[in-house]
Structures are given as structure tokens and as C-alpha cells.
Amino acid sequence: MDDDQQILRNLFAGNNISVPKNRAALLEEFLKEEQNIKAINAVVENQNLLINNWKMDNRITDIIQQPVRILNATVGKPYETKFDFDKFKWKDIAAFQFEGLDEVGLHHDEKTKQLTGVPTQSGDFKIVFKFKLAGEPEDAAFHEKLIPLIINPDPKSLWKNLESDKNDPYWKEDNVTQFAPLGDRHILVSSKRGRAHANVGSFREDDFAYRDLDDGWSLVVVADGAGSAKISRKGSALACNSVVQYFTENSSKESLAEFDVLLQQHKNNSGDDTQKKLNNYVYNKLGKAALYVHKQLAEFATKAEVPLKDLNSTLIFTLFKKYDIGYAFLSFGVGDCPIAILNKGVTEVTLMNWIDVGEFGGGTRFITMPEIFQNEKFATRFGFKLIDDFSYLIMMSDGIYDPKFVVEANLPNIKKWKEFLADLGGKNEDGVKVELHPENKDIVNQFSTWMDFWSPGNHDDRTLAIVL
């Protein structure tokens, strides 16, 4: 009764009607009339209704404006992110539904309180979150909140694979994988155009060659044409062919025979003297080969009327031969391509060369640079090793070295090489396996597939030669 009186007094006050003391009794009587009681109750009810409605509208606007960020997704990559009402403080949401999730391959899982699924299309989407609050009539319309959702394209799908121009005078095949006998062993080699080149339809700049020479020697060559040089694809091809050419010439064959004599002497008395003689031999013999390659490139540049640096290419080559005391390896290297020999049992790695890595990216050296021949370090570019037996001789371009070994410091580490072999053996993201034995009929296919491994940021040409 007192409450009612207060409501009435507030109402009157709001309308400038005063109730003097001498009318207090009248007011009490007024409040007893049934009609008036009903009216006051209706006022209270309507007031409450207005208050509730206002609160409800505020709450709905709060929810609609509340920033809700959800993790970006990627096409094809399983996605899950918490979508927890408690965390958003949405305990008063009584009913809800999503619109636009199905279309992109996602759904809301109430049990796990997650948005989950495998996104099917990329773009900047706005997911519609429709909701009703507790206390709203059942037939009330849903309110809509827009939630931004970014779905990235699958990075792999962004790379185009455009064929290179076959009419180009320096064209070479985009991808080559071969398996062949070499000496008393076999060679498995693959050279693939990098995705960066495939994306714009340009050429593979890596190259390789291998050859059995007459007197038991076998030769493997890998060259990596510089990305910044205009026709380095020709430079790398010419470099590989020139090495083969040099060692198949008559005069070179004769002097390779001299190595047998020196090695025999070395075997008989393993003094410093014979070791020095062998080193000298390697330096002279392979040094001549390197210089021959350089000259061939220079000659080509002159004829083609292009600057020699347009042919910039790195070069590594290894000669090996089986003797009764083990295998002899001779090598030369300029640039950032490593040559490694893994012993029988893979307990030890022997690196045949040091690699030219500049202080800054791209600071490597090329066979086209005359200054490498005058440099004091030239003599250290050659290697000679005598190893009882070996499981693998491995030569690679930086397209393999960068993703698989990352830094030079990993090269002497046998653990890294074991990981590398395990990777070839199927321990990789896609489970692609190469069975590295000569009886494997499917070895070329397996190896070719393995060579296409995905490594973000590593899309250079890849060349990998394995003597097994």
C-alpha cells in the first residue's frame, strides 16, 4: 500500500500535482478503489517491462559489439579453435546458430566448445552468429553478430607450374631423374626445377653429369647456375659437360694412370713424401680441369657476346676409383655445394670440400670468376681421400643443402647425415620413401617424388646425386 502511494505521489509530482495534508485521507480512499489499484499495477508492470526491454537491448548490443577474434585458418589444414561462451561471458545466451560456417568447411562443436573442420575455401569471411537471450520470447527473431574469419589459401596451391620455353636456345628439361651403374657402384641423381622458377615458367639452372672413365675412374659433376645470372642455365650445363670433356680427352687419361703409380708408392711407404706427391698430383690435375672449364665458359661468352658473369655457376666434381686398398676420391669445389662421403656403416662423414658462403646471402663464388684461380685459397679447393669402403657418396646443390642442412655447422655432424638418410627412407612429413638399393625397380619414381618435398621458403632448384 505504501509502495503504491509512493508510485502515485511520484506520478503526481512529475505532473506538478501536489497532494496537501488535508487531502491525505482522500488519497488513501483513492488507493482503495479497485479500478485505481488495477491501474497502478499496470503502471508497475509496464515500467518493469520497459526496464527489462531496455536492459535486454543493451545486452544484445554489447554482445554484437564485443570484439571476438578467432584464429586464422588455412585451406586444407585441420582447424580448431576455442569458441567458449563462458570465456566470452555469454552465459545468458539461450539459443544460437551459425551461418556461413558450413560453406567454408567448418562447424561448431558444442561438446568441445570449438570451431573445427578442414577449411575448403580462402578469403576474408564474416561468420554470422545468431543468438537469443534467456528471457526473450520463444518466437523472437534471432540477433546477428558478425565474426570475422580469415582463411588463408593453401600456400602450395599458389604456386603455378608453368612449362619453360622449349624454343629457348639454352633450354633444358625442367626435371630429370636417373639411375645408372657407375664404376662398381650405382648413381641415383635428380635435378629439379625449383618452384620459384616453375611459378614464372623460367628454367632450371642446376645441372649435373656423370661418366665412367676408361681406367676404372668414375666422375660425378654438379653445378648450380646463379639465380642472378641471365643464362646461368647454360653456364651450369657447359661447366658439367666441360669437366666430362676434359677427363675423356686422351692426354688426361694418360695422366690419370700416373695416379696408380703414386698410390702404389704411397701404399708401400706411407711417408709424408708420397702423401705430398699425391696432393700435388690432385692439385695439378684437377686444377687443370677447373681452369679448362673456366676457359670453355669464357670462350662461350666471347662467342655469344655476353658478359662472362651471365654464365655464373658453381661447380663441384668428384672422381672415384676402387683399389684393392680401398676407394680413392679426388674432388674440386667452388661455390656452396657440399660433397660428402659416408663410410660403411654410416658412422663417419668425410667432407671433401669447404663451401663458399658469403657473409651475406648470395656471397658465393663461381667457376666463371677468374679471381678464384689467383686466390691463395685455390689450393684448398681440392680434396683427396682414401677410404676403405663407403656406403654413399653424396653431392648436392644448395636447393637440397639449405632445407635439409640449413647451416654449414651441420655438415660435419654425422647425426645430421643419419637424419638425412632417414628422411630419404621415409621419415618425412609426407612419408615418401626411397629404398636406396640397386635392386629397387621403382627407385627413379620414388626418388623423383621425394625430391618434390615441401619446405616453406625453400623453392630453389634442387640437385642431389647419390653414389650407392
Binding site: 586464422n72 588463408n152 604456386w159
Partner: protein, 212 residues
């Protein structure tokens, strides 16, 4: 993997209120969406947003394009450009990996600065700190007539200007930034080389004047 760090230093002072700040926000959004379509950029480019008004803040730490989400920015206060330069120097120290024998470091960062006014703080101190850090290149954009290109010229030789700080001009600037990041990420991936100056970037659109 070697990342390509990109720092965007954005003026959020009071004078940017309205159309300019909305244009900047939109410009960054469009830039990110478009870079996400570039296979080299989406793998290598990492973006950070630093705002400066009465104070400088790193709104978004160095983040890969795939995870990047733009934050809301509002314009108010003064133009503490010096503080922003000092902050980006600190961020480069902590976020950009250096090359050591055991790890391959990141590429040198790209820095884009956009301002519509004159610094209100002691910006030379910040500049001194910034100059000690190596960047592949720094581009400063003077948006509108109130910006002082002479100040920007002391920060970097690569200065461009917009006649007016309207949404169309600002959009053009960001389109060009997008192209520049795209070209740089392609170049570092393909040739293993960094870009060192404006001359190696795509030609700016006509709305962008190169300040010499």
C-alpha cells in the same frame, strides 16, 4: 627458414582523425589480403605494426601473414616519431634473428614509415638509435602538405610524398608497399639477394612523388 621482417610505422596522431586513419586501416587490411595470395610473401614476409601518437606502441608484434590480424587503430594526441624510431630499433633487436654458425638469420628488415605531420618529440635521439640497426631499406611517406619531408630525408634517403592525405592517395601508397614487399620476398627467395634501395622497387604510382 629466413624470414623477411617488415615494420610499418604508422602515424596515429590527432590530425589523422577521420578519413586518413580509416584509409590507413583499410590500406593495411587490403595489403595483408593481397600479400596472402603471393606464394613467396605468404611464406617469408612477417609484418609488425607500430603506431605513434603521444606515445609509440607495437600494436602487432612481428607476425607471419597467415596468422596476422589487423587491430583497431584510433587517432589522437601528438606525433612522437622519435619514440617510434627508438621502439622499432628495440623490436629489431629482439625479433629479428641474427645469422650465427648454428642458425640462418632473418633477412634484413624493411621499414615503412607514414606520417602526416611534424615530430613533436626529440626525434633525433630516436633516429640515432634507429641508424645503428641494419635495414634492407627504409621508406618514409609524407602524407599531405603538413608533413616535413626534410625531417624524413634525415631518416632515410627513400622519401615519397602524397599531395593530400585522402583515402585514395593513402590506398595507392599501400598498394605500392604491397608490391614492394612482394618483389622483395621474391628476390630474396629466388636470387638470395636483398634489395637495397628505391631504384630496385616497383615504380611508385603517379600519386606518389619521389622526394629528392
Amino acid at each position: 627458414m629466413r624470414r623477411l621482417p617488415v615494420y610499418l610505422l604508422l602515424d596515429t596522431s590527432g590530425s589523422m582523425t577521420g578519413e586518413p586513419i580509416e584509409a590507413v586501416k583499410n590500406g593495411v587490411q587490403v595489403m595483408i589480403s593481397s600479400l596472402r595470395q603471393n606464394p613467396q610473401a605468404i611464406e617469408t614476409a612477417f609484418i609488425s605494426i607500430i603506431s605513434f601518437d603521444s606515445t609509440a606502441k607495437q600494436l602487432v608484434p612481428l607476425t607471419d601473414l597467415a596468422s596476422f590480424q589487423m587491430v583497431d587503430i584510433k587517432a589522437s594526441g601528438t606525433t612522437n616519431l622519435g619514440e617510434a624510431l627508438k621502439l622499432v630499433a628495440t623490436c629489431i633487436d629482439t625479433e629479428v634473428a641474427k645469422t650465427t654458425p648454428e642458425q640462418k638469420g632473418d633477412w634484413k628488415p624493411l621499414v615503412f614509415i607514414m606520417t602526416d605531420g611534424i615530430p613533436t618529440d626529440d626525434w633525433q635521439i630516436g633516429l640515432e638509435e634507429f641508424k645503428k640497426r641494419k635495414t634492407a631499406f627504409t621508406v618514409a611517406c609524407a602524407a599531405g602538405a603538413s608533413a616535413d619531408t626534410n625531417v624524413l630525408k634525415q631518416i632515410t634517403e627513400n622519401v615519397v610524398s602524397l599531395d593530400t592525405a585522402d583515402s585514395q592517395s593513402i590506398a595507392k601508397f599501400f598498394t605500392w608497399v604491397t608490391a614492394s614487399i612482394g618483389v622483395t620476398s621474391t628476390k630474396v627467395e629466388d636470387a638470395g639477394k636483398e634489395i637495397t634501395g628505391l631504384s630496385e622497387l616497383p615504380p611508385p604510382p603517379s600519386e606518389l612523388n619521389i622526394v629528392v
